[in-house]
């Protein structure tokens, strides 16, 4: 199952609802293009809703890091919402959980940008 991405705006924050897998050849490219497109349009606040992402591999982790650093270099922020247990476990294993701002509910995540 590839990655599906739906975009919506909540209080000025662009929320990307992701569902599927973020892996080499399946979701990595879509995620990269979605984030870069938002940044090119001037978006400064992006929230990746990972609630329906059931799998991420090392390539997908690399794309999350790339999204984070690309955004940061452009003065933008990428934060994470609703990690599944599998995704959270892998982020913790690789210490990336300490890099990202991670939220468990959307209202708190949206409020954190203010």
């Amino acid at each position: 199952m590839a990655l599906n991405i739906a975009s919506r705006e909540v209080d000025g924050v662009t929320v990307l609802d992701l569902s599927g897998r973020i892996t080499l050849g399946e979701g990595s490219v879509q995620l990269r293009e979605a984030v870069r497109e938002l940044i090119s349009k001037g978006s400064k606040t992006m929230l990746l809703n990972m609630g329906d992402v059931n799998y991420i591999d090392s390539s997908g982790l690399g794309e999350l890091v790339s999204a984070y650093t690309t955004a940061k270099n452009q003065g933008a922020q990428v934060k994470l919402l609703n990690l599944s247990k599998k995704v959270k476990d892998v982020l913790q294993l690789t210490k990336l959980y300490t890099v990202f701002d991670v939220y468990e509910d959307e209202a708190s995540a949206i409020a954190s940008y203010k």
């Binding site: 892996t23 399946e26 591999d57 090392s58 982790l61 984070y68």
Partner: protein, 132 residues
Amino acid sequence: MESVNEVEALADRIAGEAGLDEDTRFHVTMAVREATVNAVLHGNEYDPAKQITATFENTGRDLVFIITDQGKGLDPETLPDPLAPENLLRGTGRGIFIIRSFMDEVHFRQLHPGTELTLVKHLPATETTQAR
């Protein structure tokens, strides 16, 4: 990437049939996927003339997965630590670390050319194996 997905699906089936709990099954499947991606991407460098092989065995005590490529070879000792602060934001370099974290044993063997990666997951002891 079709071959990677096929190997991953087979590993998941074998791990499931071996009775591994959900977390361990996920770990095994992910480790095998990472090893296969490494073989295709970093080993064979997407060269369609080169092949990978994947061999799976349930010995009753272990699940053993052997992945080979026909690439230039890999020295695992030279791989940077992905948890080091200076590497934390790198886009690559986490695959072997994940494999080592999720499996009980990982062995590298150089094939000249190519690399053979053996991944071992110990199976939970059953009454039968405990009695041996």
